[in-house]
């Protein structure tokens, strides 16, 4: 059940109707049943995976809380991590690694048949596994008390707005909200409506229309500079509109029920450097990786060389999290290298100090343009179907030729992204993602009308699945 379908609209209306008429505990039970139904609409067989995962992590959480011996605690934690990542590895990575190993052994002249499993990837497994893991990791670090009731914890993991594509909510913040009665306020409801409409706009008006250009160009056999540039630019807006749109709708739906989910995107294409980019893009994943992986590896506390190694490991694994393909690993390594390079530059080059306001303005936008160009090349790696396509498209970047259809596509991109960029520039100017909601009444009304009619007239209605579901 996709957020941008009539089915979801009906489902949400029923859930809200029940929700507003039930007391707190019953609200939780109803939400759990609704979440199970929501997930079952994808594939009811994999509900058992969520059940097993949550039962195991709930038990592990309680065991960790009771255990005092550090060695015993570590053992329990390792067992829990192996279990969680084992699940993820089996469903998501087994085929990939088995195939890669077979190719490697074949290249060495050895022939081994590791067998391939044709396992369907359960929707959102990477998201709910990470979410569930954060619970045990926080208890291990003594930053969180275990949930008193299993059903509360299960709801935290399986809460339908964020279950299949995040934001990867920290257990700490969500358990607090699940166990205490939520406040429904008029401001919360209007915020929810704003987020849902803005999310639908990003998904249906921007992302799904960009997908038409991206799919067409990436299906070609021959490329020129124009094709590669336009295809990658369209993909940048597609992936942003798709994923941030999903996050906005998830947050909006949660706000209608009094929940608060974390902000997942903060104008990432206006980032001025790689570090800034990762503070703005998929914030829930980047902070998860920072807190539970990068810092566990030692972070920046063990010298400069180790910091760079830790950054690379974190980003490569972050890339692998997105999917079982070498292009994702390369994409992670590319961003890891950008982060390392940026760190080296920061440490070894003198800081540029623009004096006049114009210089400051020019310097800020120059850095944004540079970072956006690096991001675009990253997307080429991310979207390429294989290494051959990646090298062909990279080579095409050096052929200075722009075809007429490419120019036409540029107009389509401009048409579909102009309103988004105008709103975001306003948000950036005000340093406030809710800047629109703080505008005068008539400006807000104009905003809602524009979003609504652009979706209705130009939005893609053939419900394209969200890209991040596959991760």
């Amino acid at each position: 059940m996709l957020f941008n379908t009539v089915q979801f609209g009906i489902f949400l209306a029923v859930v809200l109707l029940l929700y507003y008429n039930l007391p707190h505990r019953l609200q939780n039970y109803m939400l759990l049943v609704a979440s199970a139904f929501f997930y079952a609409c994808w594939d009811y067989r994999f509900l058992s995976l969520i059940l097993i995962s949550t039962v195991v992590d709930y038990v592990v959480g309680n065991l960790l809380h009771r255990a005092d011996d550090p060695r015993r605690r570590k053992l329990i934690l390792v067992w829990s991590i192996v279990f969680n990542l084992g699940f993820l590895g089996f469903f998501k990575y087994y085929g990939f690694f088995a195939e890669s190993l077979q190719v490697l052994l074949g290249a060495l002249g050895l022939h081994a048949s590791l067998g391939t499993l044709h396992v369907v990837l359960p929707v959102g497994i990477s998201f709910y596994t990470f979410q569930s893991m954060s619970y045990t990791l926080d208890i291990y670090r003594k930053e969180l008390e275990p949930a008193k009731h299993y059903l509360d914890f299960a709801l935290c993991v399986a809460f339908f707005p964020h279950m299949v594509a995040g934001p990867i909510q920290r257990a700490q913040s969500l358990i607090e909200q699940v166990t205490h009665p939520r406040k429904i306020t008029l401001d919360g409801i209007t915020e929810g409506i704003y987020l849902i409409l803005w999310g639908l706009f990003k998904k249906m008006f921007v992302a799904d229309n960009m997908a038409l250009i991206t799919n067409r160009i990436f299906a070609q056999q021959h490329f020129n500079f124009g094709d590669v540039f336009i295809g990658t630019l369209a993909f940048a807006f597609q992936v942003y509109g798709d994923f941030s749109g999903y996050s906005d709708i998830a947050r909006g739906v949660s706000r209608l029920m009094g929940f608060n989910l974390m902000v997942n995107f903060n104008l990432p294409y206006f980032a001025t450097n790689p570090q800034d980019y990762w503070r703005r893009w998929h914030i829930s994943l980047s902070t998860w990786l920072r807190d539970y992986l990068y810092r566990s590896l030692g972070g920046n506390r063990k010298g400069e060389a180790r910091t760079h190694i830790n950054l690379m490991i974190t980003m490569v694994l972050g890339g692998l999290w997105h999917g079982a393909a070498w292009t994702f690993i390369l994409w992670g390594a590319y961003h890891g290298a950008l982060l390392c390079l940026h760190r080296l530059c920061q440490r070894n080059l003198p800081e540029v100090m623009p004096r006049t306001p114009f210089q400051r303005f020019a310097w800020r936008w120059f850095r944004t343009a540079c970072m956006f160009s690096f991001t675009l090349y990253g997307y080429l790696i991310f979207r390429a179907q294989n290494f051959h396509q990646l090298t062909t498209m990279t080579a095409a970047l050096f052929s200075v030729h722009v075809s007429a259809p490419a120019l036409k596509s540029l107009f389509v991109i401009a048409f579909h992204c102009a309103f988004l960029l105008a709103v975001q520039l306003w948000q950036l100017q005000k340093s406030n993602l809710y800047a629109i909601r703080e505008c005068p009444v008539l400006v807000q009304t104009g905003f809602y009308l524009c979003c609504f009619y652009l979706i209705v007239v130009f939005g893609a209605f053939n419900a394209q699945s969200f890209i991040y579901f596959q991760f």
């Binding site: 009444v441 809602y448 209705v456 007239v457």
Partner: protein, 331 residues
């Protein structure tokens, strides 16, 4: 009054009022738009208004765009019993659900045909047009019947929304106005490909539409209404002659690879057995590129040729048996 006027104040930053105001404005705009004329597609669907405007034809050609342009009613004149009339009521962009409602209306008006030449494209059974059916063709009670079928209920809801909103109905035209016609763009790239093609093929395999790259399939909604259509015809003793329309060589090749023909013929055999339909032309006939205007539709010459072929078959086989009145065949 003062608080009402405060929406014009730049100091008023209320967050609830803009949403209510936007909803009210949408209601006002949509009411205003409802005075706009219907869009082209809906107009064309409604122009085939049940065949009730004049006398009922004895034989009706039904189906989708492939039949609308591919079987010329005038060409059947010689094949019909003396005085019998024929008209082509096939509608573009439709599936088997449309002929069902068309026939139902004709029966209710006492103007049902005596026989139907049904010539749908086999792909019509796979594609969905629930929204179009409900918004552009059905009356509200008919929309209720579609909803009661319990298949693709959300599409029925969407169709009902389109029925109310002219903006939703005009969205295709508005998109074409702003972004250009994708059909024209496809035609242009086909032209370019033709120029590059060494065989100078009019319809090269590179541009073969996606639907021809899939095996024969049907959506439960289409199948449900197809069965209803055939049952309704049988109940009223209206005989159905099923005609399969010609295909391009490139399409035939693709279908052969996919075992499409085999599955489609099996489907037709079952339909014939269950509903007493006559499979008048079961097999696909392959026509050359010159007989087509695109990958699916015959051009004028192709239509004349195929109509003559089917009409000739009727004349020799003596398939069409209707008690005719004295009238002229019309298209």
């Amino acid at each position: 009054m003062r608080s009402l006027l405060s929406i014009f104040s730049f100091k008023n930053r209320n967050t609830a009022v803009p949403i209510l105001l936007a909803v009210a404005l949408v209601a006002v705009l949509e009411t205003g738009f409802s005075f706009l004329p219907q869009n082209k597609l809906v107009k064309s669907l409604r122009s085939k208004d049940y065949g009730q405007d004049g006398a009922a034809a004895d034989v009706e050609i039904m189906g989708d765009s492939v039949a609308a342009g591919g079987l010329l009613a005038g060409g059947f004149a010689g094949a019909l019993p003396s005085g019998a009339t024929i008209s082509n009521l096939a509608m573009s962009a439709t599936g088997p659900e449309f002929p069902y409602f068309l026939l139902k209306r004709q029966i209710a008006a006492g103007k049902a045909p005596k026989a139907i030449v049904y010539a749908p494209s086999p792909h019509t059974f796979a594609s969905l047009r629930v929204g179009l059916l409900v918004s552009g063709y059905c009356t509200w009670p008919e929309a209720g019947e579609v909803a009661l079928a319990g298949i693709h209920t959300c599409d029925v809801v969407y169709g009902a929304m389109c029925k109310v909103s002219r903006t939703l109905r005009y969205r295709e035209e508005l998109a074409v106005f702003v972004k250009g016609d994708p059909a024209k763009a496809a035609e242009k790239s086909l032209e370019e490909l033709r120029k590059r093609s060494p065989q100078k093929q009019q319809f090269p395999p590179e541009m073969l539409p996606q639907m021809y790259k899939k095996g024969f399939a049907w959506d439960p909604f289409n199948l449900y209404f197809c069965k209803k259509f055939l049952s309704l015809a049988r109940e009223h003793h209206i005989h159905i002659y099923w005609v399969t329309m010609p295909e391009l060589p490139v399409v035939a090749e693709s279908r052969k690879r996919l075992d499409f023909d085999k599955e489609y013929y099996a489907f037709l055999d079952k339909v014939a057995k269950d509903y007493g339909v006559t499979l008048f032309q079961k097999e696909f006939v392959v026509y050359a590129d010159e007989e087509f205007r695109d990958y699916s539709h015959l051009n004028e010459h192709g239509a004349e040729r195929y109509t003559a072929f089917i009409a000739g078959k009727f004349a020799t086989v003596g398939g069409l048996t209707v008690s005719g009145r004295s009238s002229v065949a019309h298209n």
